[in-house]
């Protein structure tokens, strides 16, 4: 059923008329043209499609448009501050915490949601929170180090 769905995307209001049971991943990537959020597995197993909905990291491949009605969605495109990489993005760059870069948006969104809730996670907490985000290139070590750095630098 087509219906008008309103939500907030990266700080801006969005209105879209489409089937509300469509998956957020495809709406973001296709209808809204933000391609930073990636498809990896379609079954919530890899985390490449992770976005933040009302401060929670969610898998957009398992989230319907209806699920985000009147809520706030942040994608990788909404992470930078005034066009500059945020503290976590900067840490990924400084640590070379990426290779092919395809899992990177999901890694960043998952880690950012964690840091917003718990600004100073321990290494063990980082590993636990990130464990369902898959990377095939093997950037894990540097991703952990990047998040640890931010954990030390974050206020609050």
């Amino acid at each position: 059923m087509k219906e008008l769905i309103k939500f907030n995307l990266n700080g801006k209001p969005v209105e879209i008329t489409t089937d509300s049971d469509r998956l957020l991943l495809w709406v973001i990537r296709t209808d809204l043209g933000l391609t930073g959020t990636k498809y990896g597995c379609g079954e919530s197993l890899c985390g490449a499609c992770t976005v933040i909905v009302d401060n929670e990291a969610v898998r957009s491949c398992q989230t319907t448009l209806k699920d985000v009605e009147n809520r706030s969605v942040i994608t990788i495109e909404g992470l930078a501050v005034d066009g500059q990489p945020n503290i976590l993005q900067k840490a990924f760059m400084d640590h070379d915490a990426l290779q092919c870069g395809y899992c990177t948006p999901g890694m960043l969104m998952n880690a950012w949601a964690m840091l917003k809730k718990n600004p100073h996670p321990t290494r063990e907490q980082i590993i636990e929170e990130m464990d369902d985000n898959l990377c095939r290139c093997g950037a894990h070590k540097r991703i952990i180090e990047a998040v640890e750095t931010v954990s030390k630098e974050m206020g609050g």
Binding site: T35, G42, L98, Q99, R136, G138, R142, I144
Partner: protein, 718 residues
């Protein structure tokens, strides 16, 4: 310019595949062009004449660089960036020889209209084989700029010096001219002659220094474009009908329900049935309404029976190395050990599935693929569509992981065919299930080794047969007087015994071969009652390998003990792509469950000049991490030609919680030419972990992956 050293640019040179010259000039702009001649690089020539057979492609150069009027330097290369970091290391090589800043280099990669022909990005060859001519061309470019500056500054060339894109008078640095000024209004080209001297390692300012990735900003902001991120007006997304098994025969097909979807376009082109829609999820939904039945032939072949089958159908072997006399070796032996090693199929499983966006316009086509082989893709597309080669344009976006698996271009051909049939741009993005189903897996393989030691504990003979893994990494590098290595087929091509496609997987063959060889070596060491480090050292004369092994042992803090010592330490050595590597793993094994926890991995390698030590270190870390997967868990389950693992729920790849403490050492060898970096450190992971497990609990697991179940089984056997 009237100087006979300069050629007026003949754009047919650059675009031998008949690219419109004006297009090229427009795209490339003016400036100074330097071509890299491959004629005096036999390795490049061999590649060109090898596996692929280009038709009307440039024959006299392999790449070129351009110095633009804005002072920026463009490197045009057929290589692609898939995470391995050549986008950074090639830029470093160019910047250093040309004397420009690293940040003034723009990389133009894998565009078949702009870049000269290239076989593909695999085999750790970009730096090894592409690097030397690239440096020559850059050195030549610097020479050209000095000559132009000599005229401009009215000063003899030997009175000039270059730095950061500027030519100065050596004695009066207030008189200078920038590279951009020299390139202004010029359209001149020159072939690298190979006569301009290259910088020596003590002159390097950029090579050999660590640089952060060239592409990290776009990758952390979501701006980086992959094949699936291409958006074209009117583009349709394809959902393709797949059989349940590779040998399934379709017995009925009813597309009527799929056609009922608003806006859908259904394509039935015999072996290619697809549903197209402006929204990918709707295309997928419509595809699920297709009614189709299949006959699937029965088969006894599965991931357990495959090994006996492979041995049964194995052809006569090809001897790849031989020394001494096996019978004499056996006679000299006080102990002989004979073992059979097994390794199952592995998926590449890049996080980006195969994707291609294709746009047919009349008799021309443009494709943006996730592919390690854009130039072969061009030929494949031309052939599939019956288009002229010069009418096919492949543009390579970032590739989201390849590992050898993105070289077949099946999805490229699918997208091209569908775009032609639909008359619109079409994107084919495989689902994860399609990615597993259509993977060209690392092949299942068997290795049989018989070896002996003499009464001094030295290896007396070595009899090595590898079935279907291939010979890469098969030849032992120990000092064994009587040694033979025989390879029984790579299993690729028409005579493949495998139930589905197999292909190159990060260091093809070498992971299997190194696992077998290094396991056997430690079995011999244990039988001889000698510490496995000492055993290797006394059986090695390869000085490079000895240095690497010593470096790893020093870093690890190795203390001699004969195995199994209960400590859980395992060593493996390997050679891949010209690089020698030694890895030491520390594991903890749960004696009840057999579960393995890899606690620490130390790897040392000699790779010649490490152009970007930071990048090389990252590749080693990536190899170690990815290698945990094939060593511990990864194994494709199948029945006949049906693949049973179709997503990450049953095919588990390494996770954060698996990652051990990783320490890497790159030996200083900057005077030696650069060798491979993207693959070597993965080959030792299976062997190092197998040996560490043995050292921990005395369980010798002869089959990868080394699962908890296999460890329990091996513990029972003692």
């Amino acid at each position: 310019m009237k100087d006979h050293n300069y050629l007026d640019i003949d754009f047919r040179d650059i675009s031998a595949n008949h690219l419109d010259r004006r297009d090229f000039i427009r795209l490339a702009g003016g400036g100074i062009f330097i071509f890299m001649i491959i004629g005096h690089f036999p390795s490049l020539l061999a590649q060109r004449e090898g596996r692929f057979n280009p038709h009307s492609l440039p024959t006299d150069f392999n790449a070129f660089l351009r110095i633009g009027e804005n002072g920026r330097v463009s490197l045009f290369t057929g290589k692609i960036e898939m995470g391995q970091g050549v986008i950074t290391s090639l830029a470093q090589m160019l910047a250093d020889e040309l004397d420009v800043t690293f940040n003034s280099v723009d990389m133009v990669m894998g565009d078949t209209n702009l870049c000269p022909w290239d076989m593909g990005t695999f085999g750790s060859m970009s730096t090894r084989f592409f690097g030397p001519p690239l440096r020559e061309a850059a050195a030549e470019g610097r020479q050209v700029l000095i000559e132009l500056a000599s005229e401009y500054l009215k000063s003899p060339a030997d009175q000039l010096m270059t730095k950061d894109g500027i030519v100065y008078k050596r004695l009066n640095k207030k008189q200078y001219v920038t590279y951009g000024q020299l390139a202004k209004g010029k359209a001149i080209g020159r072939h690298a002659t190979g006569k301009v001297p290259l910088k020596t390692p003590d002159q390097f300012k950029i090579m050999g220094k660590s640089f952060l990735r060239h592409d990290s900003f776009v990758k952390v902001t979501g701006e980086a474009k992959y094949a699936g991120d291409i958006r074209l007006p009117g583009m349709l997304y394809a959902a393709i009908l797949r059989p349940p098994a590779h040998d399934a025969k379709r017995t009925s097909l009813d597309l009527s329900d799929a056609k009922k979807f608003d806006g859908v376009q259904v394509i039935d082109d015999g072996d290619l049935v697809a549903v197209l829609h402006p929204l990918p999820d709707v295309a997928e939904k419509a595809l699920s309404k297709v009614k189709v039945t299949y006959d699937i032939p029965d088969s006894n072949l599965n991931d357990k029976t495959i090994f006996d089958y492979l041995l049964k159908v194995a052809p006569e072997g090809e001897t790849v190395a031989v020394t001494g006399n096996q019978q004499r070796g056996e006679k000299d032996s006080v102990k002989i050990i004979e073992k059979t090693y097994l390794d199952g199929y592995k998926a590449h499983a890049p996080i980006e599935p195969h994707t291609a966006t294709a746009h047919v316009e009349g008799d021309k086509i443009t494709v943006w693929p996730s592919s390690q082989t854009p130039f072969p893709a061009k030929e494949q597309v031309a052939e599939a569509l019956g288009f002229k080669l010069e009418n096919v344009h492949i543009i390579s976006p970032f590739v989201g992981g390849g590992f050898g698996g993105k070289s077949r271009n099946l999805q490229v051909i699918e997208a091209a065919r569908l775009s032609k049939l639909a008359g619109k741009p079409v994107q084919v993005a495989w689902t994860r299930a399609e990615e597993f189903f259509h993977d060209s897996f690392r092949p299942a393989a068997v290795v049989k080794i018989k070896s002996g030691i003499d009464k001094t504990g030295k290896l007396s003979f070595w009899d090595y047969h590898v079935y279907f893994a291939g010979s890469r990494g098969a030849t032992e590098f120990y000092s064994i007087p009587n040694s033979i290595t025989v390879s029984h087929s790579t299993g690729r091509g028409e005579k493949s015994p495998h139930p589905f496609a197999v292909g190159a997987w990060r260091a093809p063959g070498n992971n299997t071969n190194t696992f077998a060889r290094e396991s056997q070596i430690e079995i011999m060491a244990s039988e001889a009652g000698i510490d496995p480090y000492e055993f290797r050292m006394m059986n090695l004369t390869d000085q490079k390998m000895k240095r690497v092994l010593k470096a790893a042992a020093d870093k690890f803090g190795w203390k001699p003990a004969k195995g199994p010592s209960g400590r859980g330490f395992g060593i493996a050595c390997g050679i891949d792509a010209g690089t020698s590597v030694a890895t030491i793993a520390e594991v903890e094994v749960n004696k009840q469950t057999g579960e393995i926890r890899v606690k620490r991995v130390v790897a040392a390698q000699d790779m010649g000049l490490a152009v970007n030590p930071e990048g090389a270190t990252i590749q080693m870390e990536g190899c170690i991490t990815m290698g945990l997967g094939y060593a511990l868990e990864e194994d494709i389950r199948f029945k006949g030609e049906k693949i049973l693992d179709l997503n990450f729920d049953t095919y588990d790849i390494p996770r954060f919680s698996w990652v051990p403490k990783i320490e890497t050492v790159i030996l200083d060898a900057k005077n030696d030419p650069p060798q491979g970096g993207g693959e070597p450190a993965i080959v030792t992971m299976g062997g190092a972990i197998a040996n560490a497990v043995f050292d921990a609990v005395g369980a010798r697991v002869l089959q990868m992956p080394i699962t908890a179940e296999r460890v329990r089984e091996a513990m029972k056997q003692g």
